[in-house]
């Protein structure tokens, strides 16, 4: 590890922390329907949207109405995206003449983008028309992110409510999220990325003879506009197959910094938004602290493991020391311009958030280095997590922590002055345990049947890890991959002709992504609905405080026990075995 490596990691954390109150405060004003500096620009657009949608933003919804609108909207968009992806043959902006992928792959992709997962069995530049990328996938990058944030706003209102059952209006939250937060940030971000060399064009692919007369074809497309929202909205679905490792997606050290900042920008700032909206900023910072501590720990482990090098490298006597002018370490599957520090940092950040974009190949990570993204996902995507979904998941963990603390001291647990009772705890358990249990069940099924094992690429423990990673990633709506695991077989034919999907992997994964998006979402909103009408007890001497270092430690403990320990036996069989032995398979 190098000083320079740690300096850039520290710089990242400082910038992220500094921006948290700025953006967080702004988002609090957006969700309180207050006037913000962009109101003169987007106010008319906002009102026009309500008119076009024929909705009245002043109609308040209780938790059931809010949840119903969320579901109807998502279901309808699922069908719309499926339709777009199935009709590539007749689309405009399709210079390479790509056919649609098979139906089972489309099912997986559609479910993936609706659920804010962006797991990809397809390679973008060999499968998708520019129209599908823009009007299908990029739209979902905006919308699925905005759905998560809207639901979070509703959940926070439930926690903060003084006796009313109303959680806000879904259409208002959605529209304001899209126009006041996501659109302006994405637009500026996209232009910054283009200034670094990220492409943004509608021209077709360019073929030429290289300096030595060899054939080379540049895949092009409107990438920057999609990449900036893919990072901001914790989507993570690459324009290209190799995602942000591709220089056309992530050209320089600076574009890398912008993209990695965009991954956590909104999830981090939402903790401050939460503090502001519940009227106690320390509550928000306490959640931020718990998340940041876990993030820094995982970055450190990944960086150390990757700098140490892999058993395959040592077996081949490849140097792993970082001498002058080389990065050293495990550079397999990593780009020279990012090196070890930026790659390890990204791997931890993208899985702490449910982003899932990558700037290096996770499959090539050492046993312990590769365990880091797995563990981050296994905590249930609450270390910052997805935009909106990370924080409402974290609030369920908070209720669990408060409940456990209450059991230990023998008094009724409270959070923000509201009593946590049987109904909230039951709903919380559904919201927190459904995901890990379904992930374990699906992984087991995929490993125990020949339908599942046909997707595996590597032999030995790595093949097990590929499967575990695939269902952990899809089940937690992350979307990063040990990319050897496949559900789509593409021959090298023009227009993607003759491609087939592996139905088991495609359908199981697609189904898992959908249920694990919406079960925790419904649990969180139900908890908020239940808390909304409760009276607020005044703070007294016996109140268990939830804005102290003690609580942060307790919260981290609960997350580690619920999330990581559930998966410990599985982790032992794959990445930990490989991390502890120089044995090759």
């Amino acid at each position: 590890m190098t000083v320079q490596g740690w300096v850039q990691i520290a710089f990242y954390l400082v910038v992220l922390t500094a921006l948290t109150p700025v953006l967080g405060g702004y988002m609090a004003r957006v969700y309180r329907n207050e006037r913000v500096f962009l109101t003169p620009v987007f106010g008319p657009v906002e009102r026009l949207t309500y008119r076009l949608l024929r909705v009245d933003p002043n109609v308040e919804q209780d938790w059931k109405a809010y949840a119903r609108t969320t579901l109807v909207f998502s279901v309808l968009f699922w069908f719309a995206l499926y339709l777009i992806l199935r009709t590539q043959g007749i689309q405009p902006f399709n210079p390479e003449g790509f056919n649609s992928a098979p139906w089972n792959v489309t099912f997986n992709t559609t479910s993936s983008f609706i659920s804010n997962t962006d797991w990809q069995y397809y390679g973008g530049e060999t499968t998708m028309s520019y129209f599908s990328q823009m009007a299908g996938l990029a739209v979902q990058n905006f919308v699925s992110a905005a759905v998560g944030m809207a639901v979070l706003a509703a959940v926070i209102r439930g926690f903060a409510s003084r006796g009313t059952a109303n959680l806000g209006n879904f259409w208002q939250d959605l529209t304001r999220t899209l126009f006041y937060i996501l659109l302006p940030l994405s637009f500026v971000g996209a232009l910054v990325l283009v200034s670094q060399g990220v492409i943004q064009t509608l021209s077709g692919y360019v073929s030429y003879a290289t300096v030595q007369g060899l054939d080379q074809t540049l895949a092009l497309g409107p990438a920057a506009s999609q990449i900036s929202i893919k990072q901001l909205g914790t989507n993570g679905g690459g324009f290209f197959n190799v995602n942000s490792a591709m220089p056309f997606e992530n050209a320089t050290g600076f574009s890398n910094f912008v993209e990695i900042l965009f991954i956590l920008l909104i999830p981090a700032a939402l903790t401050y938004t939460f503090g502001r909206m519940v009227g106690n900023r320390r509550q928000g910072w306490a959640l931020y602290a718990a998340m940041a501590v876990m993030l820094v720990a995982t970055i450190g482990v990944a960086y150390a493991a990757e700098q140490n090098g892999s058993p395959a490298q040592k077996g081949a006597q490849v140097a792993t020391a970082s001498a002058n002018g080389t990065t050293g370490g495990n550079l397999e599957g990593k780009e020279q311009r990012f090196g070890i520090a930026s790659s390890s940092e990204w791997a931890a950040v993208t899985t702490a958030a449910s982003n899932g974009s990558v700037n290096s190949a996770h499959e090539a990570y050492t046993g312990i280095g590769g365990a880091v993204p797995l563990v981050n996902m296994m905590t249930g995507e609450v270390i910052f997590g997805g935009v909106g979904s990370g924080l409402y998941g974290m609030l369920l963990m908070v209720i669990l922590a408060v409940f456990i603390a209450g059991l230990m001291v023998g008094r009724t647990p409270e959070y923000l002055g509201k009593k946590i009772e049987a109904r909230e705890v039951k709903l919380t358990l559904i919201g927190t345990l459904f995901v890990p249990l379904s992930v374990l069940a699906f992984t087991a099924l995929a490993l125990a049947t020949h339908w599942g094992t046909q997707s595996i690429f590597d032999s030995g423990p790595q093949g097990f890890s590929e499967t575990l990673y695939a269902y952990t990633s899809q089940g937690n709506n992350n979307g990063s991959a040990f990319a050897g695991y496949t559900g789509f077989i593409q021959p090298n034919a023009p227009g993607n002709a003759g491609a087939t999907g592996i139905s088991f992997a495609d359908l199981m994964g697609g189904f898992l992504m959908l249920i694990n998006r919406f079960v925790p979402l419904l649990a969180a909103i139900a908890v908020a609905g239940s808390l909304a009408t409760k009276r607020v007890a005044p703070v007294g001497g016996g109140t268990f405080r939830t804005d102290t270092a003690t609580f942060v430690v307790l919260l981290i403990g609960v997350i580690v026990i619920v999330g990581a320990l559930t998966f410990f036996p599985a982790l032992l069989l794959g990445p930990i075995v490989q991390g502890l032995t120089p044995q090759l398979f």
Partner: protein, 216 residues
């Protein structure tokens, strides 16, 4: 429920037009005006023809000639290629530097196949560079020279890797080593803002600069 359905259906249309067409097309327009070359993939021209992109690596290989002076071919009729000693060589690639079908070899850290790949890459590098760098040992070979990148089109090599190759290129081109080393410095992309990422030598830029010198 009916109201939700109608609003949702309208929302699908409105949001698809705004975020799926207006936003990317407006971004494309502005980007094309502000950064035309970069938005189109940083294409590099030579003698009026595109020969590459400075962000996308390429192979610097030439056909192997048989005893009859014609290029040798494999059993499928494709010419057999070998690294051209006059050029700096890019990192190994799983795709042969194909930017339109990107993928990674997807070998895990404890795979025998990966060790064998490293061994082959290391042996090839030593064979190529030892004649001009006598005594070059396995542990002196920079890690980027034997590992494949995630994108398969990494445009950079490390400075240490370039310094070793410089001796071969200098001899093959009959240029002074000092001059070649200076060109390496001129074509190194430094860390952004001095501390973000890692420095890398842009192989295409460097090789084109060498060719330019030869012409001048």
């Amino acid at each position: 429920m009916r109201r939700d359905l109608i609003a949702s259906a309208l929302a699908v249309l409105v949001f698809t037009v705004v975020f799926g067409l207006a936003y990317p097309l407006a971004t494309t327009g502005v980007a094309q005006v502000l950064f035309p070359n970069k938005a189109d993939g940083s294409q590099v021209m030579r003698d009026g023809k595109v020969v590459g992109s400075r962000l996308i690596g390429q192979e610097f290989q030439k056909p192997v000639l048989g005893p009859d002076g014609k290029p040798k071919t494999d059993k499928d009729g494709n010419p057999i290629l070998e690294p051209d000693p006059r050029y700096f060589q890019s990192r190994p690639s799983a795709t042969g530097y194909n930017p339109s079908v990107t993928f990674f070899n997807n070998l895990g850290p404890n795979q025998k196949d990966l060790r064998d790949l490293f061994r082959a890459n290391l042996a090839a590098y030593l064979k190529r560079e030892r004649p001009t760098s006598p005594g070059l040992r396995a542990k002196d070979v920079p890690v980027d020279a034997v590992t494949t990148s995630a994108s398969g089109v990494d445009p950079h090599i490390s400075q240490a890797n370039a310094r070793i190759q410089a001796r071969r290129v200098a001899r093959a081109r009959n240029v002074s080593l000092t001059r070649v080393n200076q060109l390496i410095d001129d074509n190194t992309d430094d860390r952004a803002l001095g501390f973000l990422g890692e420095p890398g030598v842009n192989v295409l830029d460097l090789n084109l600069a060498l060719d330019q010198e030869a012409q001048a």
